[in-house]
C-alpha cells in the first residue's frame, strides 16, 4: 500500500513523538533508580513489582487528575501558554535526529544548526512561565535561567562545532558516516577536550546540578515552575527531560558515533540509545555527586574559561582540518 508522502511523514512523526514521550517517561524512572543506588536506597519499588516499572505511568495519571491552581495574581494568558511554548522546542529538537540510517523525522542538511537553534528557544517558554506566575521566586529563577542559558549557549555551540568541522557537514547522518573509522571522541586531544566541554555546557544548558541555581531548592523552592501544578507541571517536566535526553542523543551522535557499533545493522538504534543513555547517566552521576555553585562562579566558568577555551579549541581543529585537507579523520 502506497501512502501519500504527507500521510507517511505524519505517521513517522507520530511514531517518533510517542517513542520520545515514552522514552522520556521511563528515563525519569532510570534516573530515580540510579539516584537511589547512589544513595543506598531502593527507589520506586511497589508500583509495578518488581522495581516499580509502572511508576512513570502512575505519576503521569496522578498529575493528570491533580487540581490545577492558577494564582489569582498571575498573568493568565502568559501563564497558561508557557507550558506548551516550553514543550515545543524541547521536543522539536528530536525532529532532526536520525535514530538509524533513514529512521527519523527529517535528516535536514542543516541538522545540527536546527538542533542548536531550536534548543535555545526553550528560554522563551521558561521566561514566560517565570514572568506569568507573578511569583518572586519564579521571576528570580527565570532571570537567572536566561542569564545562565545564554552564557552557556556559546560554549555549547562551539563544542558542538568541533565534530562538525571534523566531518565537514551539518547533516546528522553525514557526521555519523564520517565516524566510520574512529568516533570523534577518540580523535587525539581535540576530541576528548571537545567532549568534556560539551558535557559541561550540557549540564549548564539543562540547568542540572552543579549549575541548577535557577531551581535551587533551598532559596528558590522549585524555580520558575513553583506555581505550576497538575498537567501543566507535567508538561514542563516532560519538556525538561526531553531536552536533556535530546542533548544526550546529540552528544552520542556527534562524539560517540551514533548508531555505529559491532553487530548486525538492526542493532544500530539500540547502540545509539545505549550511547545516549550513557551520556544521560554521566549527567545524572554528576547531579548526585556535586554541590551547587554560586551565580558568579557559574558565570565566571562560562565567560572566563569555557568560552575562550572552546573558541581556541575550535580554531585548533580548524587548523588541523585546513592543513590536512580532504583527508578524513
Amino acid at each position: 500500500m502506497a501512502l501519500p508522502p504527507v500521510a507517511w511523514h505524519a505517521l513517522v512523526a507520530f511514531v517518533v513523538l510517542n517513542a520520545v514521550v515514552l522514552l522520556v517517561t521511563y528515563v525519569t524512572l532510570l534516573e530515580r533508580k540510579f539516584a537511589a543506588r547512589m544513595q543506598s536506597r531502593i527507589g520506586p519499588y511497589y508500583v509495578g513489582r518488581p522495581h516499580g516499572w509502572l511508576q512513570p505511568i502512575a505519576d503521569a495519571l496522578k498529575l493528570m487528575i491533580k487540581e490545577d491552581i492558577v494564582p489569582a495574581a498571575a498573568d493568565r494568558g502568559v501563564y497558561n501558554l508557557a507550558p506548551v511554548v516550553f514543550l515545543v522546542p524541547c521536543m522539536l529538537i528530536f525532529a532532526t535526529i536520525p535514530f538509524a540510517p533513514g529512521l527519523g523525522v527529517a535528516d535536514l542538511n542543516i541538522g545540527v544548526l536546527f538542533f542548536l537553534a531550536v534548543s535555545s528557544l526553550e528560554i522563551v517558554g521558561l521566561f514566560m512561565g517565570g514572568w506569568g506566575s507573578n511569583n518572586k521566586y519564579a521571576l528570580l529563577s527565570a532571570m537567572r535561567a536566561v542569564n545562565q542559558i545564554i552564557s552557556y549557549d556559546l560554549p555549547f555551540v562551539f563544542a558542538a562545532l568541533v565534530p562538525v568541522l571534523l566531518a565537514g557537514s551539518l547533516q546528522m547522518s553525514a557526521i555519523v558516516d564520517a565516524q566510520q573509522g574512529l568516533a570523534f571522541v577518540f580523535y587525539p586531544v581535540l576530541g576528548q577536550l571537545a567532549f568534556v566541554a560539551y558535557l559541561v555546557a550540557t549540564l549548564a544548558a539543562e540547568n542540572r546540578v552543579p549549575f541548577d541555581i535557577l531551581e535551587a531548592e533551598s532559596e528558590l523552592v522549585a524555580g520558575f515552575r513553583v506555581e505550576y501544578s497538575g498537567m501543566k507541571f507535567a508538561l514542563i517536566q516532560l519538556g525538561e527531560y526531553a531536552h536533556m535526553l535530546g542533548t544526550s542523543f546529540l552528544g552520542a551522535l556527534l562524539f560517540l558515533g551514533g548508531w555505529l557499533g559491532p553487530g548486525p545493522a538492526w542493532l544500530g538504534p539500540f547502540w545509539f540509545l545505549g550511547k545516549a543513555l550513557l551520556i544521560f547517566l554521566i549527567v545524572t552521576w554528576v547531579r548526585w555527586s556535586f554541590v551547587r555553585i554560586r551565580v558568579d562562579q557559574i558565570l565566571a566558568i562560562s565567560w572566563k574559561l569555557l568560552l575562550p577555551a572552546t573558541l581556541v579549541l575550535l580554531l585548533a581543529t580548524g587548523l588541523v582540518v585546513a592543513t590536512r585537507g580532504a583527508g578524513g579523520v
Binding site: I150, F158, A300
Partner: protein, 117 residues
C-alpha cells in the same frame, strides 16, 4: 524546502499533544478554588506587592556580550562547512576575525563586565 514538511508536521503534533493532554486533564481533574489557595506561594507568608520588578543592569551587560559572540557563531557555521575545501586561507581569515572579537572579550574582561556583582 520540502525537507521541512516533516518538521512542520512534527511541530504541529507536539502542539496537539500538549493541548490535548491539557484538555483531557481539564475534564478529569477537580476544581475547587479558594481565596487562600489562589494566592501566590511564598512559603506561607502573604506576598507583599507585585513580583514584576525592574531587572538588575548586570543581566543586560551579559546579554550584550552574548550578542557579540552570537554574531561570531553565525559566521562560524558556514566557515566550518567549507573549511576543508577552502584550505588555510579561510582558516587565517577566521583566525583574524576571532582575534578581533577576542580583543573585545579582553576589553570586557578588563572593564569587569564579566564579573557578576
Amino acid at each position: 524546502m520540502s525537507g521541512y514538511v516533516p518538521v512542520f508536521i512534527f511541530a504541529v503534533l507536539i502542539i496537539a499533544f500538549g493541548v490535548v493532554s491539557l484538555v483531557v486533564a481539564r475534564l478529569l481533574r477537580p476544581g475547587r478554588p479558594g481565596v487562600v489557595k489562589l494566592t501566590n506561594y511564598e512559603c506561607g507568608a502573604e506576598p507583599i506587592g507585585s513580583a514584576w520588578v525592574q531587572f538588575p543592569v548586570g543581566f543586560y551587560l551579559v546579554a550584550l556580550v552574548f550578542i557579540v559572540f552570537d554574531a561570531l557563531a553565525v559566521f562560524l557555521f558556514p566557515w566550518a562547512l567549507v573549511l576543508r575545501s577552502a584550505g588555510l586561507a579561510a582558516f587565517w581569515v577566521m583566525a583574524v576575525f576571532v582575534a578581533i572579537i577576542g580583543l573585545g572579550w579582553l576589553y570586557a574582561y578588563r572593564e569587569g563586565i564579566l564579573e557578576w556583582k
